[in-house]
């Protein structure tokens, strides 16, 4: 039986991809950001996940205005890195897991999620930057990926509640997949950022950290945060955090945090990163990082 062994949350700022690709990841600016992922890289080497269900949003790369799916699941064999205007990132192709992806897609439709199935697409920084952050620069990504793209560009995106419920249904689907697979769910995007207009550059450390706190334990209050609160409190692009709720929903009733990292700034954005374990009697190794990286600039 496949099982979800961990949830990983991470911002997916495109500049992090640039820093990684051009070896700037340990300079003064990026060093403190990447340092917060060092623990996770070591941990991932030990975890050896077979598949990542990677919840992200497309940033006008695979989907233009002709077609806007709310929830799209990638069931293809492989995905290439998208050309976002400066040529594709020089990262390995992303290998899919069509068996698991189709199983999840079919199961989700039975559970009344109105999925869009995607068999061919390119994937942008929303998906490839988290892979770089967690795995560095291997010749091939060490696991397969099921892309789960959420619309957070054209309004309204799905509600936080719907995202959480999708995560719950993903968990059920994974657990009914007969093959023995170690599956992680990643929620990406966020945290505070606004990329547009006179209010650009907005950052709300208190709110972001309240959100990180809320991912841990057995409360589900985060699912009831309305969109307007993300926008008012964390900037117009802070809405991406609803994607973390898919990951959180997939971990079951209770979670424990193994690692946490928060840093401001990266470009226009607050970086948040967290590694969570489901804590519902699964009996997983709960060894965490010794230190929680301090909140920058405090």
């Amino acid at each position: 039986m496949a099982r979800i062994t961990a949830g990983v949350a991470s911002s997916h700022v495109p500049l992090l991809g640039v820093a990684s690709d051009f070896n700037k990841d340990r300079d003064d600016y990026f060093g403190p950001i990447f340092a917060g992922y060092d623990w996770t890289r070591e941990w991932e080497k030990a975890e050896k996940p077979d598949v990542i269900i990677l919840v992200y949003n497309d940033h006008a790369s695979a989907f233009d205005m002709k077609i806007i799916p709310t929830f799209a699941i990638g069931c293809g064999e492989r995905y290439k890195s998208a050309d976002e205007g400066w040529g594709p990132r020089a990262v390995p192709d992303v290998e899919g897991h069509p068996d698991l992806a189709w199983h999840i897609a079919q199961s989700l439709v039975l559970d009344e999620f109105d999925m869009t199935i995607i068999n061919e697409m390119d994937v942008d920084h929303g998906l490839t930057v988290p892979l770089s952050m967690m795995f560095g620069k291997p010749d091939a990504w060490p696991c397969k990926v099921v892309p789960l793209a959420v619309n957070v560009v054209t309004y309204p995106p799905p509600s936080g509640n719907r995202c959480w419920a999708l995560g719950e249904a993903v968990r059920k689907a994974v657990e009914s997949f007969p093959e023995d697979l170690n599956v992680q769910v990643w929620g990406t995007g966020g945290m505070s950022h606004q990329l547009q207009g006179p209010r650009a550059g907005l950052i709300n450390k208190e709110w972001d950290n309240m959100f990180l706190d809320g991912l841990v334990g057995d409360s589900d209050h985060l699912r009831r945060i309305p969109h307007i609160e993300y926008l008012r409190e964390t900037g117009s692009e802070g809405i991406e955090m609803v994607m973390w709720l898919v990951m959180r929903g997939a971990l079951g009733k209770k979670t424990r945090a193994l690692h946490r990292h928060y840093h401001v700034p990266c470009s226009n954005t607050a970086i948040g990163h967290m590694v969570l374990r489901p804590d519902n009697g699964e009996g997983l190794d709960m060894t965490g990082s010794d230190t929680v990286t301090a909140i920058a600039a405090e």
Binding site: L15, A60, S61, E84, Y155, P198, N204, P226, V264
Partner: protein
């Protein structure tokens, strides 16, 4: 934090709230429709050959798209606030940032009242505070109350 279940909120209330955020244009249907071709134009710059053609003659390339004259002028001027007003979305417009070779943060800073060095310094110092930036209505009410006080 509001913990009331936000499901089944009326769409009109929902959209009205989205217009209540200072200095922010939320990409609602209204904007998506207004900016449809501008965003599709921007997206076409994901292809190398299109970028080359655009760079060779921006105006001629844009004339191939059903853009309004206002949209073309805003794009030519790289007036991104104006682009947003005309229905542009930043993720689409970002293809133009890239075509220009402009770092994302620098392009974003052009929409604020700061020059890039000042904007960068603000970000290094922890970013823009949300204080006083949450609600147009709340700001107006506060201003009115203050006036009353005097």
């Amino acid at each position: 934090m509001i913990t009331e279940d936000p499901r089944h909120q009326d769409i009109h209330e929902y959209l009205a709230e989205m217009e209540d955020i200072p200095g922010t244009r939320v990409f609602t249907a209204k904007r998506a429709r207004q900016g449809y071709h501008m965003n599709q134009f921007a997206m076409s710059l994901m292809k190398d050959e299109n970028r080359a053609r655009f760079k060779a003659d921006e105006r001629a390339y844009m004339d191939e798209w059903p853009l309004t004259e206002d949209q073309k002028l805003a794009l030519l001027a790289r007036d991104y606030n104006r682009c947003l007003d005309l229905g542009g979305n930043v993720y689409f417009l970002a293809k133009l940032f890239s075509t220009d070779g402009l770092p994302f943060a620098e392009a974003v800073s052009t929409m604020t009242d700061m020059e890039f060095p000042e904007y960068r310094a603000m970000m290094m110092a922890g970013g823009r505070s949300p204080e006083g930036m949450r609600s147009i209505r709340a700001n107006e009410a506060a201003a009115a109350a203050k006036k009353e006080d005097r």
